[in-house]
Amino acid sequence: MAEVIWGLATSHVPSIGAAMDRGKTDDPNWKALFDGYAPARAWLAEHQPDVAIVVYNDHANGIDLDFIPTFGLGTAERYEVADEGFGRRPVPDVLGHPELSFHLVESLVDEGFDLTVFQELAVDHGFTVPLSVWTPDPGDAWPCPVIPLLVNVIQYPQPTAARCYALGQALGRAIRSYPDDLTVGVLGTGGMSHQLAGTRAGFINPDFDHMWMESIETDPARLAALSREELIRQAGSEGIELIMWLIMRGAMHDQVTKVHSDYFVPASNTAAGIALFDNTPPAG
């Protein structure tokens, strides 16, 4: 059987990738953020999975508004890195793991999740920035094959937090029912609180973010109970993308061990958070 060995929650703000790509990680505006990543990166370097799953959303790069899938899953052998309009990020293309993808599709569809299957997909910063947060220097290739799990967070109505958490739980079951022995890392991306448009642009809610950071570890069901409206009110119209953390969290055990977390404002217009969990219950 395959098993989730860790879950990583991280913001996917494009400027984090840009700061890395342009060698600005020691810039005073950025140093604290990247310093905050260091302990997670060190632990992750020691805990290499066989496959990773990145839960993310596209930002007008891989898909258009002609169709808006609530949940999409990639089954390709390779995912091209999108040119978002300022040149492609200087990072490797992503190799997929079609066998695991097919298994996940079958398991999840059987459990009543109405996935859209992607056989071709270009991935944008929502996908590559989390990979960079995990692996700052991939060289020619990312450390392992990666499977994209797309979530609609851009167009209302987004899936409910409860549905995301349920999808995560089903994803965990699907992974565990895979016939081969594989270790899996799951990345839940996006957030934390932010809003880009409207007179409330620039809104940041540290109280909510701290509650979220605490509860994602200890009480994810509490977060899953939040309504769409409550999420937009508390986390901002773009902060609702935090629902993607719940998919990652749902795929893990009820009890997990926090390896590291950090919180930083601002990464561009966004409160940035990182939280890394070892999928073993806490000792004692």
């Binding site: 880009l196 448009a197 119209s237 601002p266």
Partner: protein, 120 residues
């Protein structure tokens, strides 16, 4: 000031819902096309013609030509799509934040650096 056409009504918070997306579809397609360098060139060579090619309404075309960012949002633009045009112009998300809030870029950036804006 528009607060979005969504079923949710949160002050100062545009909601990009189905109806908004439908109104903005052609304009958002135009913005997405600007990922491509050749399209950016064509757009810059004759912005009005490019808008017409994409089937924008007169109001939308006017908003695009005038770089009226608030109007683009009001007329169905998704911020992630509108941002493609801003990037082409060399504008940052902080610049847009300065426009949407009426604070101007410098004050907006200062507010973000100070930990972001709060409700109320």
């Amino acid at each position: 000031m528009s607060t979005g056409a969504g079923r949710l009504d949160l002050p100062g918070t545009p909601i990009f819902d189905g109806d908004t997306s439908r109104r903005g579809l052609r304009m958002n397609k135009l913005f997405m096309s600007l990922r491509d360098a050749a399209n950016r060139e064509r757009f810059l060579a004759d912005e009005a013609a490019y808008c017409q090619e994409f089937g924008l309404t007169a109001e939308q075309q006017q908003a695009v030509l005038a770089r009226d960012w608030q109007a683009m949002i009001d007329l169905g633009g998704s911020i992630f799509y509108v941002y493609k045009l801003a990037m082409m112009d060399g504008r940052s998300m902080q610049y847009l934040g300065g426009v949407f809030t009426g604070m101007g870029e410098d004050d907006f950036l200062a507010a973000m650096r100070a930990g972001g804006r709060r409700d109320g």
